[in-house]
């Protein structure tokens, strides 16, 4: 039941934080923006192979670290703080679905590659499922899909008859086309997936349940990334408020600035507590996980947008320049907010959970 991180978790957080500072500082993101690459291959190899982040929730039998969701949340918080671009979220969601399905064959075939980072996998889920499966072939369009253009395998939810299924689709499959989009968030790579009679392998297991879990996992993972980025944007602003002077005083001495930052810190503390709770619930209280993850996501989403807005505004003119990192956080905040269900959708979902519970 404890919310506070234990010593091991703290240590792990430190190691990820060091990794971000040393191997993937924000200057790396500027390189990606200039080159048009979705992420740095070497950074990804270090994250996955070196730190093992790609296999945190994957059982040891498939080559994963089997470290659990609390540790995953810790890692994503640090990566989010650094706006590290990688296919980790895509692969984690794909792994989450595979783990909740009941397809030993697919698990054995895909999880080891996801765990090692060699296989880029993604889950083609966005809003309501509209792809149709007809006699084993899939037709429809899904957007936005994380790392769609880099994925070697896509897990595609599709409607078949009266029910829903999850299908494994190879990137090279005939009839599949992927169009990369100019993601608003420079640290995110997304694309549109079009399926025109694509052969998909149906995966065994309760697809509705697995996809429900994927949405909860997306909430947890995004909340972690958002909380990390929220904290980083806020810290950047607080530090600036200490050194920037106006009217003969550091601007942080003015209540107009001080109180706004205090409000944001308060929001951050609440969102932080909610995230810790959701991560614990994933490991320890599965029945409460959906509600806890929705609470974490709802607690952080709009507050992070407000924080990123403040980061631009309280930096004054300089916060509006391309060279300053404030806009990276602002774009990230707005984009994160819309992924896998915006705040309104999350509240609708939470309300349903509460009324049912």
């Amino acid at each position: 039941m404890a919310l506070v991180l234990n010593a091991e978790e703290e240590e792990f957080a430190d190691s990820v934080r060091r990794f971000v500072a040393e191997r993937s500082p924000r200057a790396k993101l500027r390189e990606l923006m200039a080159s048009g690459q979705p992420y740095h291959g070497d950074v990804w190899r270090q994250m996955s192979g070196g730190l093992g982040l790609s296999g945190l929730i994957i059982p040891a039998e498939y080559g994963g670290a089997e470290a659990g969701y609390r540790v995953l949340a810790v890692a994503l918080t640090e990566l989010g703080a650094g706006l590290v671009s990688s296919p980790l979220l895509a692969g984690t969601l794909a792994a989450g679905v595979l783990l909740r399905l009941d397809d030993k064959d697919a698990q054995g075939r895909l999880l080891p590659g996801i765990a090692s980072g060699e296989l880029i996998a993604t889950l083609a889920l966005a809003g309501d499922v509209t792809v149709r499966a007809d006699g084993g072939t899939l037709t429809g369009e899904v957007a936005p899909v994380l790392n769609a253009a880099q994925a070697g395998v896509l897990l595609v939810p599709a409607l078949a008859g009266g029910g829903i299924g999850v299908y494994e689709v190879e990137a090279a499959a005939a009839g599949l086309s992927v169009a990369a989009a100019p993601a608003l968030d420079h640290s995110r790579s997304v694309g549109t997936v079009r399926l025109d009679g694509v052969a998909g392998r149906p995966l065994a297991g309760d697809a509705a349940r697995a996809l429900g879990f994927a949405r909860d996992l997306a909430n947890l993972a995004l909340a972690a990334e958002q909380l990390g980025a929220f904290g980083a944007a806020l810290e950047m602003t607080v530090e600036y408020a200490k050194i920037r002077a106006a009217f003969g005083r550091p601007i942080g001495a003015f209540q107009g600035v001080k109180h706004r930052l205090a409000n944001l810190r308060t929001d951050w503390e609440l969102a932080h507590a909610a995230l810790l709770d959701a991560a614990r619930a994933a490991d320890e209280r599965p029945g409460d996980f959906a509600a806890a993850a929705a609470v974490a996501r709802v607690s952080v989403s709009d507050a992070y947008v407000a924080a990123a807005t403040a980061t631009i505004q309280l930096h004054g003119g300089i916060g509006f320049t391309w060279e300053h990192d404030a806009h990276l956080y602002y774009k990230n905040a707005i984009s994160q907010n819309a992924l896998f269900g915006d705040p309104r959708a999350q509240l609708d979902r939470l309300r349903t959970l509460l009324t049912a519970g």
């Binding site: 506070v4 209540q255 930052l261 205090a262 932080h272 909610a274 309104r344």
Partner: protein
């Protein structure tokens, strides 16, 4: 402490509570203070609690406590969560004056007052707020003037909870007006039954009188009344105020509060206003906010248990709690819809919600305004520069205070 001893303490608490304490009911709890009629019963219950070894769990044995650790205290709190312990009148004494006397009081004070406080024999209140001081607590004008070994107390306090049934109070008064405001304050013990003490109920916006005004007219404080040192009362007051903030902030609102998600969503279902998508979302957001505030309180307690000082982050809890209450008011208004116009009109559930809405803006000020909390968070949590106060170096008697010196 051994883990085993905590477990056995917990087991003992569990069975004692099951046998002796009333369960928390799901029904609406009465808002505000216990009625005078209940005070005797509360004294009795506190005595039973004491006899069973559950009063003053972490206080030293020589002053009537149990001499145990935070672990036992928390274990008891967890076990007691499902019960509505009838000990409200002791809440302030045991939470604020008690620990302060324990830390700063003389040996004689500790021996004289603490055991009786724990046994429920004497009820305490805290006398800090003044009409002209408000958020700027340290600008208080109640004065205590030395008269031999004794002191003569004059002035007025306000917003004093429980003054009407208190036996003693911890009061701060100005003992030197010629030095800057923080340096001329002393904390005293005052006998609330002494001649010259007048307690008057204070009627608030809801029409009820949950607080008092207390007037001191040449009240004589005997020798030995000073808590700590003369002119060093502000340090003690700060500790008390900080405790108060953490207490208010981390209490959380019970499920049964009229402004809780639980209550409001039930009311929305009954009135049909919850069918509106936006109202339903606001309720869900209230749930999320309530839960995150509660979780943050839990986190602070866990950190305290792990030996980390929550420090100024108690102000985060206080601010979050006050803002939760105000956002709950907005949700309540949406849930009530037209029902608010007729002021409840005899429906007790609606009445309770309306009274809570009316009371919230005022209550949010108690324990320090949001502005004060934001200053504390900005300066002591975030490390931002302080406001260049003009009042820190100025002798108190040259300072603008309240609305007195402005006309």
């Amino acid at each position: 402490m051994s883990e085993q001893s905590v477990t056995s303490f917990r087991d003992r608490a569990r069975s004692w509570l099951a046998a002796n304490a009333p369960r928390r009911s799901d029904a609406q709890e009465p808002d505000g203070e216990p009625q005078a009629a209940g005070v005797a019963a509360q004294r009795e219950f506190q005595a039973k609690l004491y006899d069973a070894g559950f009063a003053g769990i972490t206080w030293p044995k020589e002053y009537g406590g149990q001499g145990l650790t935070n672990a036992e205290q928390i274990a008891f709190g967890e076990e007691a969560r499902g019960y509505a312990l009838p000990t409200g009148v002791f809440f302030i004494g045991l939470g604020m004056p008690g620990p302060t006397i324990l830390e700063m009081g003389s040996e004689a004070q500790k021996k004289r007052y603490l055991p009786k406080m724990l046994r429920g024999e004497e009820i305490w209140c805290q006398l800090f707020s003044e009409p002209a001081a408000g958020s700027d607590v340290a600008s208080l004008t109640t004065s205590a003037v030395r008269d031999g070994d004794e002191w003569l107390l004059n002035g007025q306090k306000v917003w004093t909870s429980g003054a009407q049934w208190s036996d003693y109070g911890a009061i701060i008064a100005r003992t030197d007006p010629t030095v800057p405001k923080h340096n001329g304050i002393t904390m005293f013990i005052v006998d609330m039954h002494a001649p010259g003490v007048t307690v008057r109920p204070l009627k608030v916006a809801t029409g009820s009188s949950p607080f008092n005004e207390v007037f001191f007219d040449n009240v004589r404080l005997p020798a030995g009344s000073v808590i700590g040192e003369v002119n060093n009362g502000w340090a003690a007051a700060v500790v008390m105020l900080r405790n108060e903030r953490v207490t208010i902030g981390t209490m959380g609102s019970p499920r049964t509060s009229p402004l809780s998600y639980h209550s409001l969503s039930a009311l929305a279902a009954r009135l049909g206003t919850g069918a509106d998508v936006e109202v339903a979302r606001r309720l869900a957001r209230l749930y999320a906010r309530e839960r995150s505030v509660r979780l943050f309180g839990q986190l602070l307690r866990e950190e305290a248990m792990a030996g980390r000082d929550p420090g100024a982050r108690g102000s985060v809890a206080k601010l979050a709690g006050a803002e939760l209450a105000m956002s709950a008011c907005e949700v309540a208004e949406a849930v009530l819809g037209q029902a608010v116009v007729a002021g409840g009109a005899g429906d007790p559930e609606i009445d309770a919600v309306i009274m809570a809405v009316i009371g919230s803006p005022g209550s949010s000020v108690a324990g320090g305004t949001n502005e004060i909390q934001r200053n504390i968070i900005g300066e002591r949590v975030l490390g931002l520069a302080k406001d260049p106060g003009v009042d820190r170096g100025t002798p108190f008697n040259q300072l603008r205070v309240g609305t007195l010196n402005t006309k």
